[in-house]
């Protein structure tokens, strides 16, 4: 591997950066250094503060404390264009490309020094030149919408290179890539290193960190856990650092599941709205009185799994059976009637309508059944009674039933959703609870209460499918945990006495044998 000559100062350094948002410290006193010819990986779970950190490095967000130096000089970046002008390039998770333009037009946009007429003519040669040098194959005349995600990413990198970026920040760059495309990206990154560029590589996947990084900084809850050289790092250590082993909450005591089957999936596959296969051959069983955890990094099929079980998405292969009856192409309404409770990931705007009252939101699913309505006419008294009882039973703290739901706290909104979803429905009691990230963004009290309610459902004999990115939560509540990656089940482990490093490894696409899928 080529070594660039050592530079007198780092390309980029962050000095004790902090950023607070109302109620949270997103980035807490983070210092970081990027040297020439180095790939510096930033590793951390979702919500660890990676995105806020790079927003500060790129001028999108000003730091509350601390400062950034580029090439040894402290700078104040007021907008991305300041960062661009000083040689910083960012390839964001969501590409900033104009899809109906050609590649060359995208690169020419806002580029200083382009001629007025035919701004892309000379640029095309430059693109091909740089493409050769860095192994970045892009056709300057292609339209962006014709390109695959991997090709679009190359356009983004090219955009930075054409602007003479010495520092390239890649935010979760392999999330949208096929394994082959990812290998291609790593090759480009190696060549950039060879040319003396510095690359900040943000990811939550252990495998690629070990493949491509020279140094690794692990972030957790906004703070640096540690910075290791590649040689001193291994997957198990990194997984521990990333997930944290200091806080181990006691497991919630539980009886073993009962014999009755609530849910059985065999060979289930499904596609997303764009026709891409997002669930591949999923099989598992969920028993009465069992909490089955679903672990995985966002975007690996967990939400589509929830959609399949709640009637929001139909399977393309395989079968789902709910309490012994095939679910088939049941509608959202039918799954509700058949006893599926759905705690959606998005609370505001899906779980509740912020502009409607607390009472109306409590009736959001029941309104069309008697006694809530008859013959198309709403029965205000029945709704009122139900709402009053729900608010009392679940401890929803609200000034009144007429209060706009958007004014409640996140915890109270979640209680409202739980109160509604866990209640009796025309078909009888709840049989299956599908909870997606039920405690995300809640404070400790509300989290505890949510856990108690899920456990209560379990003890009553319902099956609970708990989708979460919070491993603590999963280990604490679940009997067993499914680990998903790339739309597949990587493995199912017993929560009691499970090896967390192993779960972390599977979440990152590794298999128990230590190879990466």
């Amino acid at each position: 591997m080529l070594e660039a000559p050592p530079a007198p100062f780092p390309l980029l350094s962050a000095h004790a950066l902090s950023k607070r948002f109302p109620g949270v410290v997103a980035v807490d006193n983070v210092s970081l250094e990027l040297r020439a010819g180095e790939v510096h990986a930033l590793l951390g779970e979702n919500g660890a503060g990676k995105t806020t950190l790079i927003s500060m490095l790129y001028g999108l967000v000003p730091p509350d404390e601390g400062y950034v130096s580029l090439f040894g000089e402290p700078v104040r970046l007021r907008a991305p264009k300041d960062a661009i002008a000083r040689g910083v390039g960012l390839v964001a998770q969501h590409f900033m490309l104009v899809s109906r333009h050609t590649v060359a037009e995208n690169i020419a946009l806002g580029l200083p020094g382009t001629p007025f007429f035919r701004p892309t003519r000379r640029l095309k040669r430059r693109i091909l030149e740089l493409g050769k040098r860095y192994g970045l194959n892009v056709d300057p005349n292609a339209y962006v919408y014709e390109l695959s995600a991997g090709e679009q990413q190359r356009v983004e990198i090219m955009k930075a290179l054409v602007r003479n970026a010495k520092i390239l920040i890649l935010d979760e760059p392999t999330g949208v890539l096929t394994p082959q495309e990812a290998d291609g990206l790593f090759e480009v990154v190696r060549r950039m290193k060879g040319e003396g560029h510095g690359v900040i590589f943000i990811t939550h996947k252990l495998g690629e960190v070990l493949d491509v990084a020279d140094r690794i900084t692990v972030l957790r809850k906004g703070a640096v856990v540690g910075t290791l050289p590649r040689e001193g790092a291994d997957a198990t250590t990194l997984a521990r650092m990333m997930i944290g082993r200091d806080v181990v909450l006691s497991r919630v005591a539980s009886a073993p599941p009962r014999p009755g089957l609530v849910l059985e999936l065999s060979g289930v596959s499904a596609r997303n709205d764009r026709g891409v296969v997002v669930l591949k051959d999923i099989s598992f069983r969920l028993r009465e009185g069992e909490i089955l955890g679903v672990a995985g990094v966002a975007g690996n099929g967990q939400l589509e799994l929830a959609e399949v079980l709640t009637g929001h998405r139909h399977v393309t292969a395989g079968s789902v059976s709910l309490a012994g009856r095939e679910l088939g192409r049941a509608s959202i309404r039918e799954t509700f009637e058949r006893g599926v409770a759905h705690i959606p990931e998005e609370r505001n705007g899906v779980g509740v309508v912020p502009g409607l009252s607390v009472g109306e939101n409590l009736a959001l699913r029941h309104y069309r059944y008697p006694p809530f309505s008859r013959g198309g006419l709403l029965n205000a008294a029945a709704t009122q009674r139900f709402a009053e009882a729900s608010v009392r039973e679940y401890g929803v703290s609200t000034p009144s039933l007429q209060t706009r739901t958007g004014r409640l706290s996140g915890g109270n909104i979640q209680k409202l959703v739980l109160a509604r979803e866990l209640s009796e429905r025309p078909g009888g009691a709840v049989k299956l609870v599908v909870a997606a990230h039920p405690t995300y963004g809640l404070d400790i009290g509300a989290t505890e209460q949510t856990h108690r309610m899920l456990v209560g459902e379990r003890d009553r004999g319902a099956g609970v499918l708990l989708i979460s990115e919070d491993l603590e939560e999963l280990f604490r509540l679940s009997h067993r945990i499914i680990v998903m990656f790339g739309g597949k089940v990587m493995g199912i482990v017993e929560a009691e006495g499970a090896d967390r490093g192993l779960v972390g490894l599977m979440m990152a696409g590794g298999t128990p044998k230590g190879t990466y899928a």
Binding site: P80, L97, H101, Y143, Y145
Partner: protein
Amino acid sequence: MELESWLVSTVARSLAFSTPLLWAALGEIYAERSGVVNLGVEGMMILGAIAGFMAAQTTGSPLLGIVAAASVGGLAGLLHAFIAITLRADQYVSGLALTILGLGLAGLVGRAYVGVPLSNPMQAVTVPGVTSLPVVGPALFTGQHLLTYAGLIVAVLLSVLLFTTRLGVVIRSAGESPAATDALGINVIKVRYLCVVFGGVMAGIAGAYLSLAYRPSWTEGMTAGMGWIALAIVIFAAWRPVRAIFAAFIFGACFHLAFRLQEVFPPEFLQMLPYLVTILSLTLIALGRGGRQAGAPAALGVPYTRGER
């Protein structure tokens, strides 16, 4: 011979009729390409028509009339830009308000000029040298007004500007992905203001053509829904200036033929055609039949808000 002269006059009159449609549509194409829809074309056009007439009547100069029409149209566009871009209010409603206001204001101000012929109207010009060409010569190059020829040339220039220059890339980017454009340090707000005001200027000139050249006088409501047809042309032409020439000509021909053929064919069906064709175009685009390049700019009608700091 009979057919030839019929054809010649039909083409010539259709071309004349299509001129205001073309000017207004070209301006709207630029506004929409930058991401701002303006349903106020009709209002801006009629304000241009009355302003142009008043200026030309007062000064005796049709040229000053055009300048006045363009300025008033531009000011009306500026009003829409302020409400739609700066205040980020609903663009569709704002444009509608502009049309209602424009029609009212023009009717109010123009009352004194109803039935007064323009003392010094724009004269038709004949392009020397090409009039002897069979059919095409008399149809296209005789008896047309300068603004007709200018419209064709401007359409080509605007097409070149939009598709082959740096400014063109910037304008199209602002309408497709304002966030990506902003991220590269381009002032999206400024670009949109520029395009919307330009749209107003063009609509103003379109109005001036009506009151200074096509029918050199002022009559109430003389734009007669042409502003809406200009909007229809923008869609039918898939937001492309050169295609707008043909779209304007076809729609212009519809109206001319409706008048011409009324003895043998109910004119209303031809007059409906542009509107029905527009609905059909939108349907085909939605079905994905128009090709990826045929659709509206991706950010059309969406106010741009920079991420809150």
